[in-house]
Protein backbone atom coordinates (compact mmCIF):
# COMPACT_ATOMS: atom_id res chain seq x y z
CA UNK A 1 0.00 0.00 0.00
CA UNK A 2 2.75 2.42 1.07
CA UNK A 3 4.83 1.30 -1.88
CA UNK A 4 2.01 1.88 -4.32
CA UNK A 5 1.39 5.33 -2.81
CA UNK A 6 5.07 6.29 -3.17
CA UNK A 7 5.01 4.92 -6.70
CA UNK A 8 2.00 7.03 -7.61
CA UNK A 9 3.51 10.21 -6.21
CA UNK A 10 6.79 9.60 -8.04
CA UNK A 11 4.93 8.88 -11.25
CA UNK A 12 2.86 12.04 -10.89
CA UNK A 13 5.99 14.10 -10.21
CA UNK A 14 7.71 12.74 -13.31
CA UNK A 15 4.69 13.47 -15.48
CA UNK A 16 4.40 17.02 -14.11
CA UNK A 17 8.10 17.57 -14.73
CA UNK A 18 7.78 16.31 -18.30
CA UNK A 19 4.52 17.94 -19.25
CA UNK A 20 4.43 21.23 -17.31
CA UNK A 21 6.56 23.22 -19.81
CA UNK A 22 4.41 21.97 -22.68
CA UNK A 23 1.23 22.97 -20.87
CA UNK A 24 2.68 26.41 -20.09
CA UNK A 25 3.44 26.89 -23.80
CA UNK A 26 -0.11 25.93 -24.74
CA UNK A 27 -1.63 28.25 -22.16
CA UNK A 28 0.66 31.10 -23.17
CA UNK A 29 -0.37 30.73 -26.81
CA UNK A 30 -3.92 31.66 -25.77
CA UNK A 31 -2.79 34.53 -23.53
CA UNK A 32 -4.10 37.95 -24.48
CA UNK A 33 -1.68 39.82 -22.20
CA UNK A 34 2.01 40.61 -22.74
CA UNK A 35 4.12 37.61 -23.73
CA UNK A 36 5.68 35.63 -20.86
CA UNK A 37 3.12 36.73 -18.28
CA UNK A 38 1.89 33.84 -16.25
CA UNK A 39 -0.84 33.18 -15.26
CA UNK A 40 -2.46 34.55 -18.44
CA UNK A 41 -4.57 37.71 -18.22
CA UNK A 42 -7.28 36.93 -20.74
CA UNK A 43 -8.10 34.43 -23.50
CA UNK A 44 -7.37 35.12 -27.15
CA UNK A 45 -6.81 33.22 -30.38
CA UNK A 46 -5.27 36.14 -32.23
CA UNK A 47 -1.72 34.70 -32.10
CA UNK A 48 -2.89 31.87 -34.30
CA UNK A 49 -4.17 34.35 -36.86
CA UNK A 50 -0.81 36.13 -36.76
CA UNK A 51 1.23 33.07 -37.77
CA UNK A 52 3.25 34.22 -40.78
CA UNK A 53 3.04 32.36 -44.12
CA UNK A 54 6.77 31.65 -43.82
CA UNK A 55 5.94 29.26 -40.97
CA UNK A 56 3.48 27.40 -43.19
CA UNK A 57 6.09 27.15 -45.96
CA UNK A 58 8.65 25.93 -43.44
CA UNK A 59 6.15 23.29 -42.22
CA UNK A 60 5.80 21.97 -45.78
CA UNK A 61 9.59 21.82 -46.15
CA UNK A 62 9.86 20.01 -42.82
CA UNK A 63 7.18 17.47 -43.71
CA UNK A 64 8.66 16.81 -47.16
CA UNK A 65 12.15 16.41 -45.71
CA UNK A 66 10.92 14.18 -42.84
CA UNK A 67 8.83 11.98 -45.15
CA UNK A 68 11.66 11.69 -47.66
CA UNK A 69 14.06 10.84 -44.87
CA UNK A 70 11.73 8.18 -43.42
CA UNK A 71 11.06 6.52 -46.78
CA UNK A 72 14.66 6.54 -47.98
CA UNK A 73 15.90 5.39 -44.57
CA UNK A 74 13.70 2.32 -44.96
CA UNK A 75 14.78 1.78 -48.57
CA UNK A 76 18.46 1.76 -47.61
CA UNK A 77 18.25 0.72 -43.97
CA UNK A 78 16.26 -2.52 -44.29
CA UNK A 79 18.57 -4.22 -46.83
CA UNK A 80 21.59 -2.97 -44.88
CA UNK A 81 20.24 -4.39 -41.62
CA UNK A 82 19.35 -7.74 -43.20
CA UNK A 83 22.79 -7.94 -44.78
CA UNK A 84 24.42 -7.15 -41.45
CA UNK A 85 22.35 -9.60 -39.45
CA UNK A 86 22.39 -12.53 -41.88
CA UNK A 87 25.47 -12.10 -44.03
CA UNK A 88 28.67 -13.99 -43.34
CA UNK A 89 31.49 -11.82 -44.54
CA UNK A 90 34.77 -10.37 -43.41
CA UNK A 91 34.44 -7.18 -41.37
CA UNK A 92 30.73 -7.57 -40.68
CA UNK A 93 30.92 -6.41 -37.07
CA UNK A 94 33.08 -3.43 -37.99
CA UNK A 95 30.61 -2.49 -40.72
CA UNK A 96 27.77 -2.76 -38.22
CA UNK A 97 29.54 -0.38 -35.87
CA UNK A 98 30.14 2.07 -38.73
CA UNK A 99 26.46 1.91 -39.66
CA UNK A 100 25.39 2.88 -36.17
CA UNK A 101 28.17 5.40 -35.43
CA UNK A 102 26.37 8.51 -36.79
CA UNK A 103 24.03 8.23 -33.81
CA UNK A 104 27.00 8.82 -31.51
CA UNK A 105 28.40 11.86 -33.30
CA UNK A 106 26.99 15.24 -32.20
CA UNK A 107 24.60 16.54 -34.88
CA UNK A 108 26.50 19.83 -34.95
CA UNK A 109 29.66 18.03 -36.03
CA UNK A 110 27.72 16.14 -38.71
CA UNK A 111 26.23 19.47 -39.81
CA UNK A 112 29.60 21.14 -40.18
CA UNK A 113 31.05 18.11 -42.00
CA UNK A 114 28.13 18.01 -44.43
CA UNK A 115 28.35 21.74 -44.95
CA UNK A 116 31.96 21.34 -45.95
CA UNK A 117 31.05 18.39 -48.16
CA UNK A 118 28.58 20.51 -50.12
CA UNK A 119 31.39 22.89 -51.08
CA UNK A 120 33.65 20.04 -52.07
CA UNK A 121 30.85 18.60 -54.21
CA UNK A 122 30.28 21.98 -55.84
CA UNK A 123 33.97 22.43 -56.56
CA UNK A 124 34.41 18.96 -57.94
CA UNK A 125 31.18 18.29 -59.82
CA UNK A 126 29.20 21.55 -59.70
CA UNK A 127 26.55 19.68 -57.73
CA UNK A 128 24.37 21.98 -55.68
CA UNK A 129 23.04 20.06 -52.71
CA UNK A 130 23.45 22.69 -50.02
CA UNK A 131 20.26 24.69 -49.47
CA UNK A 132 18.08 22.22 -51.37
CA UNK A 133 15.44 19.81 -50.11
CA UNK A 134 17.21 16.75 -51.61
CA UNK A 135 20.41 17.96 -49.96
CA UNK A 136 18.65 18.21 -46.63
CA UNK A 137 17.17 14.72 -47.02
CA UNK A 138 20.62 13.30 -47.80
CA UNK A 139 21.93 15.02 -44.68
CA UNK A 140 19.14 13.60 -42.53
CA UNK A 141 19.76 10.09 -43.89
CA UNK A 142 22.98 10.14 -41.87
CA UNK A 143 20.91 9.50 -38.77
CA UNK A 144 17.72 8.16 -40.41
CA UNK A 145 19.38 5.04 -41.84
CA UNK A 146 21.09 4.13 -38.54
CA UNK A 147 17.73 4.32 -36.75
CA UNK A 148 16.12 1.91 -39.21
CA UNK A 149 19.19 -0.35 -39.19
CA UNK A 150 19.06 -0.50 -35.42
CA UNK A 151 15.37 -1.36 -35.08
CA UNK A 152 15.45 -3.88 -37.94
CA UNK A 153 18.59 -5.54 -36.49
CA UNK A 154 16.77 -5.90 -33.18
CA UNK A 155 13.65 -7.26 -34.90
CA UNK A 156 15.62 -9.70 -37.05
CA UNK A 157 17.42 -11.08 -34.01
CA UNK A 158 14.08 -12.51 -32.90
CA UNK A 159 13.21 -13.74 -36.40
CA UNK A 160 13.02 -17.49 -36.81
CA UNK A 161 14.80 -18.34 -40.03
CA UNK A 162 13.02 -21.66 -40.52
CA UNK A 163 9.99 -19.52 -41.42
CA UNK A 164 11.74 -18.29 -44.56
CA UNK A 165 12.85 -21.82 -45.36
CA UNK A 166 9.21 -22.89 -45.05
CA UNK A 167 8.23 -20.23 -47.59
CA UNK A 168 10.94 -21.35 -50.05
CA UNK A 169 9.97 -24.97 -49.47
CA UNK A 170 6.37 -24.17 -50.35
CA UNK A 171 7.50 -22.76 -53.67
CA UNK A 172 8.00 -19.05 -53.00
CA UNK A 173 10.99 -17.47 -54.75
CA UNK A 174 13.37 -15.54 -52.48
CA UNK A 175 11.68 -12.31 -53.61
CA UNK A 176 8.18 -13.62 -52.90
CA UNK A 177 9.40 -14.95 -49.58
CA UNK A 178 10.74 -11.49 -48.68
CA UNK A 179 7.57 -9.61 -49.59
CA UNK A 180 5.06 -12.11 -48.24
CA UNK A 181 6.84 -13.39 -45.17
CA UNK A 182 9.96 -11.50 -44.10
CA UNK A 183 8.70 -7.95 -44.60
CA UNK A 184 5.31 -8.45 -42.90
CA UNK A 185 6.93 -10.11 -39.89
CA UNK A 186 9.54 -7.34 -39.61
CA UNK A 187 6.93 -4.63 -40.25
CA UNK A 188 6.73 -3.34 -36.66
CA UNK A 189 10.52 -2.94 -36.56
CA UNK A 190 10.57 -1.21 -39.94
CA UNK A 191 7.73 1.15 -39.04
CA UNK A 192 9.19 2.10 -35.68
CA UNK A 193 12.56 2.79 -37.36
CA UNK A 194 10.79 4.93 -39.97
CA UNK A 195 8.90 6.84 -37.28
CA UNK A 196 12.14 7.49 -35.39
CA UNK A 197 13.75 8.75 -38.60
CA UNK A 198 10.71 10.95 -39.35
CA UNK A 199 10.56 12.43 -35.86
CA UNK A 200 14.30 13.02 -35.60
CA UNK A 201 14.27 14.72 -39.01
CA UNK A 202 11.37 16.90 -37.92
CA UNK A 203 13.19 17.73 -34.72
CA UNK A 204 16.62 18.47 -36.15
CA UNK A 205 18.07 21.99 -35.93
CA UNK A 206 21.89 21.79 -36.15
CA UNK A 207 22.08 19.92 -39.45
CA UNK A 208 19.18 21.82 -41.05
CA UNK A 209 20.80 25.07 -39.98
CA UNK A 210 23.89 24.29 -42.05
CA UNK A 211 22.30 22.39 -44.90
CA UNK A 212 19.01 24.25 -45.32
CA UNK A 213 20.44 27.59 -46.32
CA UNK A 214 17.94 30.21 -47.42
CA UNK A 215 15.83 28.03 -49.71
CA UNK A 216 15.12 24.97 -47.63
CA UNK A 217 14.26 26.32 -44.21
CA UNK A 218 12.62 23.76 -41.96
CA UNK A 219 10.14 24.61 -39.24
CA UNK A 220 12.56 24.20 -36.31
CA UNK A 221 15.10 26.46 -38.06
CA UNK A 222 12.34 29.00 -38.78
CA UNK A 223 11.30 28.97 -35.11
CA UNK A 224 14.93 29.14 -33.99
CA UNK A 225 15.66 32.24 -36.07
CA UNK A 226 12.35 33.87 -35.12
CA UNK A 227 13.02 33.40 -31.43
CA UNK A 228 16.40 35.00 -31.99
CA UNK A 229 15.19 38.12 -33.80
CA UNK A 230 11.43 38.51 -33.58
CA UNK A 231 10.01 36.73 -30.56
CA UNK A 232 6.23 36.99 -30.19
CA UNK A 233 3.01 35.20 -29.40
CA UNK A 234 2.87 33.69 -32.88
CA UNK A 235 5.83 31.46 -32.04
CA UNK A 236 3.92 30.20 -29.03
CA UNK A 237 0.93 29.58 -31.28
CA UNK A 238 3.11 27.57 -33.69
CA UNK A 239 4.54 25.60 -30.79
CA UNK A 240 1.16 24.74 -29.36
CA UNK A 241 -0.13 23.77 -32.83
CA UNK A 242 2.80 21.34 -33.12
CA UNK A 243 1.92 19.85 -29.73
CA UNK A 244 -1.69 19.41 -30.86
CA UNK A 245 -0.71 17.69 -34.10
CA UNK A 246 1.74 15.42 -32.27
CA UNK A 247 -0.88 14.32 -29.76
CA UNK A 248 -3.36 13.52 -32.54
CA UNK A 249 -0.67 11.64 -34.50
CA UNK A 250 0.28 9.58 -31.45
CA UNK A 251 -3.34 8.70 -30.75
CA UNK A 252 -3.86 7.66 -34.37
CA UNK A 253 -0.72 5.49 -34.32
CA UNK A 254 -1.80 3.87 -31.08
CA UNK A 255 -5.20 3.12 -32.58
CA UNK A 256 -3.83 1.79 -35.87
CA UNK A 257 -0.75 -0.15 -34.80
CA UNK A 258 -0.40 0.09 -31.04
CA UNK A 259 2.48 2.09 -29.64
CA UNK A 260 3.51 -0.70 -27.27
CA UNK A 261 4.03 -3.12 -30.14
CA UNK A 262 5.64 -0.45 -32.26
CA UNK A 263 8.34 0.43 -29.78
CA UNK A 264 8.91 -3.08 -28.53
CA UNK A 265 7.36 -2.51 -25.11
CA UNK A 266 5.37 -5.70 -25.44
CA UNK A 267 5.78 -8.79 -27.56
Amino acid sequence: MILSFTLRVTLAAVFIFLLAPVIVVIITSFNGGPIFTFPPTHFTTRWFALIKPSFIDATYVSLIVASGTAVLSVVFGVPAALGLSRGQFFGRDALGAIFLSPLMIPALVTGVALYQATFVLWDMAHLQIGGTIPGLIIAHLTFGIPFVVRTVLAGDARFEHAIEEAALNLGATPLQSFWRVTAPILRPSIISGAIFAFVMSLDDVPIALFMGGGHATTLPVRIFTTVEFDFGGDVMAVASAIVGVSVVAMMLLDRLIGLGELFGAKQ
Binding site: A162, E165, N169, P174, R180, I185
Partner: protein, 356 residues
Protein backbone atom coordinates in the same frame (compact mmCIF):
# COMPACT_ATOMS: atom_id res chain seq x y z
CA UNK B 1 6.13 -42.20 -59.55
CA UNK B 2 7.89 -40.13 -56.98
CA UNK B 3 10.88 -42.08 -55.81
CA UNK B 4 13.81 -40.27 -54.28
CA UNK B 5 17.21 -41.74 -55.08
CA UNK B 6 20.51 -40.82 -53.42
CA UNK B 7 23.46 -41.68 -55.63
CA UNK B 8 26.70 -41.71 -53.69
CA UNK B 9 25.86 -38.42 -51.97
CA UNK B 10 28.49 -36.70 -49.88
CA UNK B 11 28.53 -33.43 -47.99
CA UNK B 12 31.47 -31.75 -46.34
CA UNK B 13 31.75 -28.47 -44.49
CA UNK B 14 35.26 -27.03 -44.55
CA UNK B 15 37.25 -30.25 -44.08
CA UNK B 16 34.61 -32.13 -42.13
CA UNK B 17 32.65 -34.86 -43.87
CA UNK B 18 29.10 -34.95 -42.45
CA UNK B 19 27.53 -37.24 -45.07
CA UNK B 20 29.68 -39.98 -46.60
CA UNK B 21 28.67 -41.87 -49.70
CA UNK B 22 24.98 -42.31 -49.01
CA UNK B 23 23.11 -44.55 -51.45
CA UNK B 24 19.44 -45.10 -50.82
CA UNK B 25 16.07 -45.16 -52.50
CA UNK B 26 12.91 -43.88 -50.89
CA UNK B 27 10.26 -45.85 -52.73
CA UNK B 28 6.95 -44.50 -53.98
CA UNK B 29 4.52 -44.16 -51.07
CA UNK B 30 7.05 -45.44 -48.58
CA UNK B 31 7.58 -44.11 -45.05
CA UNK B 32 11.35 -44.20 -44.61
CA UNK B 33 13.00 -43.08 -41.38
CA UNK B 34 16.54 -41.82 -40.95
CA UNK B 35 17.49 -42.78 -37.41
CA UNK B 36 20.62 -41.74 -35.60
CA UNK B 37 22.07 -39.59 -32.83
CA UNK B 38 22.45 -35.85 -33.33
CA UNK B 39 25.30 -35.00 -35.67
CA UNK B 40 25.09 -38.25 -37.66
CA UNK B 41 24.10 -36.41 -40.86
CA UNK B 42 20.42 -37.38 -40.98
CA UNK B 43 19.08 -33.82 -41.00
CA UNK B 44 21.68 -32.86 -43.62
CA UNK B 45 20.33 -35.64 -45.86
CA UNK B 46 16.79 -34.35 -45.43
CA UNK B 47 17.85 -30.77 -46.12
CA UNK B 48 19.60 -31.90 -49.29
CA UNK B 49 16.28 -33.20 -50.59
CA UNK B 50 14.59 -29.93 -49.64
CA UNK B 51 17.38 -28.02 -51.38
CA UNK B 52 18.69 -26.08 -48.39
CA UNK B 53 21.98 -27.96 -48.56
CA UNK B 54 23.82 -28.74 -51.79
CA UNK B 55 25.71 -32.05 -51.90
CA UNK B 56 29.48 -31.81 -52.34
CA UNK B 57 29.32 -34.93 -54.48
CA UNK B 58 26.79 -37.32 -55.94
CA UNK B 59 23.28 -36.88 -57.31
CA UNK B 60 19.77 -36.78 -55.94
CA UNK B 61 16.98 -37.91 -58.26
CA UNK B 62 13.37 -37.12 -57.40
CA UNK B 63 10.42 -38.25 -59.50
CA UNK B 64 12.82 -39.15 -62.29
CA UNK B 65 14.45 -35.73 -62.36
CA UNK B 66 17.96 -34.77 -61.23
CA UNK B 67 17.30 -32.15 -58.53
CA UNK B 68 20.83 -31.97 -57.12
CA UNK B 69 21.31 -28.31 -58.03
CA UNK B 70 17.75 -27.00 -58.12
CA UNK B 71 16.83 -24.22 -55.67
CA UNK B 72 14.31 -25.20 -52.95
CA UNK B 73 11.40 -23.39 -54.62
CA UNK B 74 11.76 -25.32 -57.88
CA UNK B 75 11.45 -28.71 -56.15
CA UNK B 76 8.10 -30.01 -55.17
CA UNK B 77 8.75 -31.04 -51.56
CA UNK B 78 6.67 -30.49 -48.44
CA UNK B 79 8.63 -30.00 -45.26
CA UNK B 80 7.51 -30.07 -41.63
CA UNK B 81 9.95 -28.39 -39.28
CA UNK B 82 10.71 -29.24 -35.67
CA UNK B 83 9.89 -25.66 -34.70
CA UNK B 84 6.68 -25.74 -36.82
CA UNK B 85 7.84 -22.59 -38.71
CA UNK B 86 4.27 -21.38 -39.23
CA UNK B 87 3.83 -17.86 -40.59
CA UNK B 88 2.89 -15.90 -37.44
CA UNK B 89 1.14 -13.12 -39.37
CA UNK B 90 -1.18 -15.49 -41.23
CA UNK B 91 -4.18 -17.46 -40.01
CA UNK B 92 -4.28 -21.25 -40.11
CA UNK B 93 -6.16 -21.17 -43.43
CA UNK B 94 -3.75 -18.59 -44.88
CA UNK B 95 -0.78 -20.65 -43.76
CA UNK B 96 -2.14 -23.69 -45.56
CA UNK B 97 -3.07 -21.62 -48.64
CA UNK B 98 0.43 -20.14 -49.01
CA UNK B 99 1.90 -22.90 -51.17
CA UNK B 100 -1.19 -22.86 -53.39
CA UNK B 101 -1.04 -19.07 -53.77
CA UNK B 102 2.54 -19.05 -55.00
CA UNK B 103 1.56 -21.83 -57.39
CA UNK B 104 -1.18 -19.53 -58.74
CA UNK B 105 -4.01 -21.97 -58.03
CA UNK B 106 -7.35 -20.17 -58.67
CA UNK B 107 -9.12 -18.87 -55.59
CA UNK B 108 -12.08 -21.28 -55.60
CA UNK B 109 -9.90 -24.35 -56.05
CA UNK B 110 -7.55 -23.05 -53.36
CA UNK B 111 -10.37 -22.67 -50.87
CA UNK B 112 -11.58 -26.20 -51.58
CA UNK B 113 -8.09 -27.66 -51.11
CA UNK B 114 -7.51 -25.73 -47.89
CA UNK B 115 -10.83 -26.97 -46.52
CA UNK B 116 -9.93 -30.53 -47.47
CA UNK B 117 -6.51 -30.24 -45.80
CA UNK B 118 -8.10 -28.80 -42.65
CA UNK B 119 -10.51 -31.72 -42.56
CA UNK B 120 -7.63 -34.15 -43.04
CA UNK B 121 -5.90 -32.91 -39.86
CA UNK B 122 -9.23 -32.29 -38.07
CA UNK B 123 -8.78 -28.55 -37.58
CA UNK B 124 -11.84 -27.33 -39.51
CA UNK B 125 -12.96 -25.07 -36.68
CA UNK B 126 -9.53 -23.45 -36.32
CA UNK B 127 -9.26 -21.97 -39.84
CA UNK B 128 -9.32 -18.34 -38.70
CA UNK B 129 -7.06 -18.68 -35.66
CA UNK B 130 -3.52 -17.40 -35.60
CA UNK B 131 -0.65 -19.79 -34.78
CA UNK B 132 -0.09 -18.18 -31.38
CA UNK B 133 -3.65 -19.19 -30.44
CA UNK B 134 -2.92 -22.90 -30.99
CA UNK B 135 -1.31 -25.60 -28.86
CA UNK B 136 1.91 -27.28 -29.95
CA UNK B 137 0.11 -30.33 -31.28
CA UNK B 138 -2.34 -28.21 -33.25
CA UNK B 139 0.48 -26.14 -34.71
CA UNK B 140 2.24 -29.25 -35.91
CA UNK B 141 -0.96 -30.47 -37.53
CA UNK B 142 -1.26 -27.13 -39.35
CA UNK B 143 2.35 -27.52 -40.48
CA UNK B 144 1.53 -31.01 -41.74
CA UNK B 145 -1.56 -29.77 -43.60
CA UNK B 146 0.46 -26.93 -45.13
CA UNK B 147 3.10 -29.38 -46.34
CA UNK B 148 0.75 -31.95 -47.89
CA UNK B 149 -1.80 -29.57 -49.46
CA UNK B 150 0.61 -28.81 -52.31
CA UNK B 151 0.75 -32.53 -53.24
CA UNK B 152 4.52 -32.75 -52.85
CA UNK B 153 6.62 -35.45 -54.51
CA UNK B 154 8.08 -36.16 -51.11
CA UNK B 155 7.05 -35.24 -47.57
CA UNK B 156 9.99 -34.31 -45.35
CA UNK B 157 9.57 -34.53 -41.59
CA UNK B 158 12.44 -33.04 -39.59
CA UNK B 159 12.00 -34.31 -36.01
CA UNK B 160 8.45 -32.94 -36.03
CA UNK B 161 7.53 -34.42 -32.66
CA UNK B 162 10.64 -33.56 -30.66
CA UNK B 163 9.09 -30.47 -29.07
CA UNK B 164 5.95 -32.25 -27.87
CA UNK B 165 5.27 -34.18 -24.69
CA UNK B 166 4.94 -37.94 -24.69
CA UNK B 167 1.18 -38.33 -24.92
CA UNK B 168 0.80 -35.78 -27.71
CA UNK B 169 3.73 -37.35 -29.47
CA UNK B 170 2.02 -40.72 -29.56
CA UNK B 171 -1.19 -39.13 -30.82
CA UNK B 172 0.63 -37.29 -33.59
CA UNK B 173 2.59 -40.37 -34.60
CA UNK B 174 -0.72 -42.02 -35.44
CA UNK B 175 -2.02 -38.83 -37.04
CA UNK B 176 1.02 -38.43 -39.28
CA UNK B 177 0.93 -42.07 -40.30
CA UNK B 178 -2.80 -41.83 -41.10
CA UNK B 179 -2.38 -38.71 -43.26
CA UNK B 180 0.70 -40.14 -44.97
CA UNK B 181 -0.89 -43.44 -45.92
CA UNK B 182 -4.25 -41.96 -46.92
CA UNK B 183 -2.46 -39.63 -49.36
CA UNK B 184 0.13 -42.27 -50.32
CA UNK B 185 2.95 -39.72 -50.10
CA UNK B 186 6.57 -40.78 -50.30
CA UNK B 187 7.92 -39.72 -46.91
CA UNK B 188 11.28 -39.20 -45.26
CA UNK B 189 11.17 -38.93 -41.49
CA UNK B 190 14.17 -37.87 -39.43
CA UNK B 191 14.38 -38.74 -35.75
CA UNK B 192 16.73 -39.76 -32.98
CA UNK B 193 13.92 -41.57 -31.16
CA UNK B 194 14.18 -45.30 -31.87
CA UNK B 195 10.70 -46.19 -30.66
CA UNK B 196 9.23 -43.53 -32.98
CA UNK B 197 11.27 -44.96 -35.85
CA UNK B 198 10.19 -48.55 -35.15
CA UNK B 199 6.50 -47.80 -34.72
CA UNK B 200 5.99 -45.48 -37.68
CA UNK B 201 8.24 -46.62 -40.50
CA UNK B 202 8.00 -48.98 -43.43
CA UNK B 203 11.79 -49.04 -43.41
CA UNK B 204 14.40 -47.62 -41.08
CA UNK B 205 17.84 -46.41 -42.15
CA UNK B 206 20.21 -46.26 -39.19
CA UNK B 207 22.94 -43.66 -39.61
CA UNK B 208 26.33 -43.44 -37.96
CA UNK B 209 28.96 -40.78 -38.69
CA UNK B 210 27.39 -39.75 -42.00
CA UNK B 211 26.86 -43.30 -43.27
CA UNK B 212 23.83 -45.52 -43.48
CA UNK B 213 24.88 -48.64 -41.58
CA UNK B 214 21.66 -50.61 -42.00
CA UNK B 215 18.47 -50.02 -43.96
CA UNK B 216 15.71 -52.58 -43.35
CA UNK B 217 12.16 -52.97 -42.12
CA UNK B 218 11.77 -52.13 -38.41
CA UNK B 219 11.48 -55.78 -37.29
CA UNK B 220 14.66 -56.78 -39.14
CA UNK B 221 16.54 -53.77 -37.75
CA UNK B 222 15.48 -54.73 -34.27
CA UNK B 223 15.74 -58.51 -34.46
CA UNK B 224 18.67 -58.84 -36.82
CA UNK B 225 20.87 -55.78 -36.33
CA UNK B 226 23.94 -55.89 -38.48
CA UNK B 227 26.44 -54.13 -36.29
CA UNK B 228 27.06 -53.64 -32.60
CA UNK B 229 26.24 -49.95 -33.08
CA UNK B 230 22.77 -50.71 -34.48
CA UNK B 231 22.17 -53.34 -31.79
CA UNK B 232 22.87 -50.81 -29.06
CA UNK B 233 21.25 -47.76 -30.65
CA UNK B 234 17.98 -49.51 -31.43
CA UNK B 235 16.91 -51.06 -28.15
CA UNK B 236 19.27 -52.79 -25.72
CA UNK B 237 21.36 -55.85 -26.43
CA UNK B 238 23.11 -58.33 -24.15
CA UNK B 239 26.49 -59.10 -25.69
CA UNK B 240 28.72 -62.10 -25.04
CA UNK B 241 32.18 -62.46 -26.61
CA UNK B 242 32.39 -65.72 -28.49
CA UNK B 243 34.27 -67.59 -31.19
CA UNK B 244 32.66 -69.67 -33.94
CA UNK B 245 33.42 -73.40 -33.51
CA UNK B 246 31.14 -75.04 -36.08
CA UNK B 247 28.69 -74.02 -38.76
CA UNK B 248 25.98 -75.83 -40.66
CA UNK B 249 24.09 -73.54 -43.05
CA UNK B 250 22.49 -70.95 -40.73
CA UNK B 251 23.14 -72.85 -37.55
CA UNK B 252 26.29 -72.00 -35.65
CA UNK B 253 27.96 -73.60 -32.66
CA UNK B 254 29.84 -70.96 -30.68
CA UNK B 255 31.94 -70.90 -27.49
CA UNK B 256 32.76 -68.16 -25.03
CA UNK B 257 36.31 -66.84 -25.24
CA UNK B 258 36.79 -65.58 -21.72
CA UNK B 259 35.76 -66.97 -18.36
CA UNK B 260 34.55 -70.55 -18.01
CA UNK B 261 33.91 -72.02 -21.47
CA UNK B 262 30.26 -72.31 -22.39
CA UNK B 263 28.86 -73.40 -25.74
CA UNK B 264 25.77 -71.93 -27.40
CA UNK B 265 23.73 -72.57 -30.52
CA UNK B 266 22.77 -69.69 -32.81
CA UNK B 267 20.45 -69.65 -35.79
CA UNK B 268 21.64 -66.56 -37.61
CA UNK B 269 20.40 -64.96 -40.80
CA UNK B 270 21.74 -66.37 -44.05
CA UNK B 271 23.87 -63.38 -45.01
CA UNK B 272 25.86 -63.15 -41.78
CA UNK B 273 29.14 -64.44 -43.08
CA UNK B 274 31.01 -65.77 -40.04
CA UNK B 275 33.58 -68.50 -40.50
CA UNK B 276 34.86 -71.14 -38.15
CA UNK B 277 37.40 -69.63 -35.79
CA UNK B 278 36.04 -66.07 -36.13
CA UNK B 279 35.75 -64.10 -32.95
CA UNK B 280 32.50 -62.18 -32.74
CA UNK B 281 29.67 -61.15 -30.44
CA UNK B 282 26.55 -63.05 -29.54
CA UNK B 283 23.63 -60.62 -29.16
CA UNK B 284 20.33 -61.28 -27.44
CA UNK B 285 17.50 -58.83 -26.69
CA UNK B 286 16.56 -58.44 -23.00
CA UNK B 287 13.05 -59.80 -23.61
CA UNK B 288 14.50 -63.04 -25.01
CA UNK B 289 16.57 -63.71 -21.91
CA UNK B 290 14.62 -65.79 -19.42
CA UNK B 291 15.32 -66.22 -15.76
CA UNK B 292 15.75 -69.95 -15.13
CA UNK B 293 16.65 -72.82 -17.46
CA UNK B 294 14.41 -74.41 -20.03
CA UNK B 295 15.97 -73.18 -23.27
CA UNK B 296 18.86 -74.58 -25.28
CA UNK B 297 21.35 -71.83 -24.42
CA UNK B 298 22.03 -70.99 -20.81
CA UNK B 299 24.57 -69.44 -18.51
CA UNK B 300 24.86 -68.19 -14.97
CA UNK B 301 24.59 -64.57 -13.87
CA UNK B 302 24.62 -62.60 -10.63
CA UNK B 303 21.77 -60.18 -10.04
CA UNK B 304 22.89 -56.59 -9.43
CA UNK B 305 19.58 -54.70 -9.45
CA UNK B 306 15.89 -55.09 -10.20
CA UNK B 307 13.96 -52.09 -11.52
CA UNK B 308 10.17 -51.97 -11.58
CA UNK B 309 8.48 -50.48 -14.68
CA UNK B 310 4.85 -51.36 -14.06
CA UNK B 311 4.09 -53.98 -16.68
CA UNK B 312 7.65 -55.34 -16.62
CA UNK B 313 10.77 -55.46 -14.46
CA UNK B 314 14.33 -55.04 -15.64
CA UNK B 315 16.75 -57.42 -13.97
CA UNK B 316 20.31 -56.12 -14.29
CA UNK B 317 22.84 -58.91 -13.91
CA UNK B 318 26.53 -59.66 -14.37
CA UNK B 319 27.50 -62.51 -16.67
CA UNK B 320 30.30 -65.06 -16.17
CA UNK B 321 32.93 -62.89 -17.90
CA UNK B 322 31.72 -59.62 -16.35
CA UNK B 323 29.21 -58.89 -19.12
CA UNK B 324 26.31 -56.59 -18.34
CA UNK B 325 22.98 -58.32 -18.91
CA UNK B 326 19.51 -56.83 -18.90
CA UNK B 327 16.67 -59.34 -18.54
CA UNK B 328 13.02 -58.46 -18.95
CA UNK B 329 10.83 -60.18 -16.34
CA UNK B 330 7.09 -60.12 -17.00
CA UNK B 331 4.23 -60.44 -14.58
CA UNK B 332 4.25 -63.98 -13.18
CA UNK B 333 7.95 -64.56 -13.86
CA UNK B 334 10.07 -65.35 -10.81
CA UNK B 335 11.65 -62.20 -9.40
CA UNK B 336 15.21 -62.82 -8.29
CA UNK B 337 16.76 -60.99 -5.34
CA UNK B 338 19.83 -58.80 -5.49
CA UNK B 339 23.04 -60.79 -5.13
CA UNK B 340 21.33 -64.05 -6.10
CA UNK B 341 22.97 -66.25 -8.72
CA UNK B 342 20.50 -67.16 -11.42
CA UNK B 343 20.45 -69.19 -14.59
CA UNK B 344 19.61 -67.27 -17.76
CA UNK B 345 18.45 -69.16 -20.85
CA UNK B 346 17.40 -68.30 -24.38
CA UNK B 347 16.48 -69.92 -27.68
CA UNK B 348 18.98 -70.31 -30.55
CA UNK B 349 16.67 -68.49 -32.98
CA UNK B 350 16.26 -65.51 -30.61
CA UNK B 351 19.88 -64.40 -30.82
CA UNK B 352 22.22 -63.12 -33.50
CA UNK B 353 25.88 -62.76 -34.34
CA UNK B 354 27.63 -59.43 -34.66
CA UNK B 355 31.12 -58.61 -35.87
CA UNK B 356 33.28 -57.48 -32.98
Amino acid sequence: MSEVIFENVEKSYADQLVVRGVNMTIRQGEFLTLLGPSGCGKTTCLRMIAGFVTPSQGRIIMAGRDITNLPPYRRNTGMVFQSYALFPHKTVAENIAFGLEVRRIPRAERAAKVAEALRLVRLESFADRYPTQLSGGQRQRVALARAVVIKPDVLLLDEPLAALDLKLREELQIEIRRVQSSLDITTLFVTHDQSEALSMSDRVAVMQDGRIVQIDSPDIVYERPRTRYVANFVGRTNLIKIAVRARQNDTYRVETCSGPVKAFDVIANADSAMNIGDRCLLGTRPEHFHVGGGHTNSCEATVRAVTYFGSIRHVEAEGPAGEHFTIVARAGDPIPARGETIVVSWRPEACFLLPE
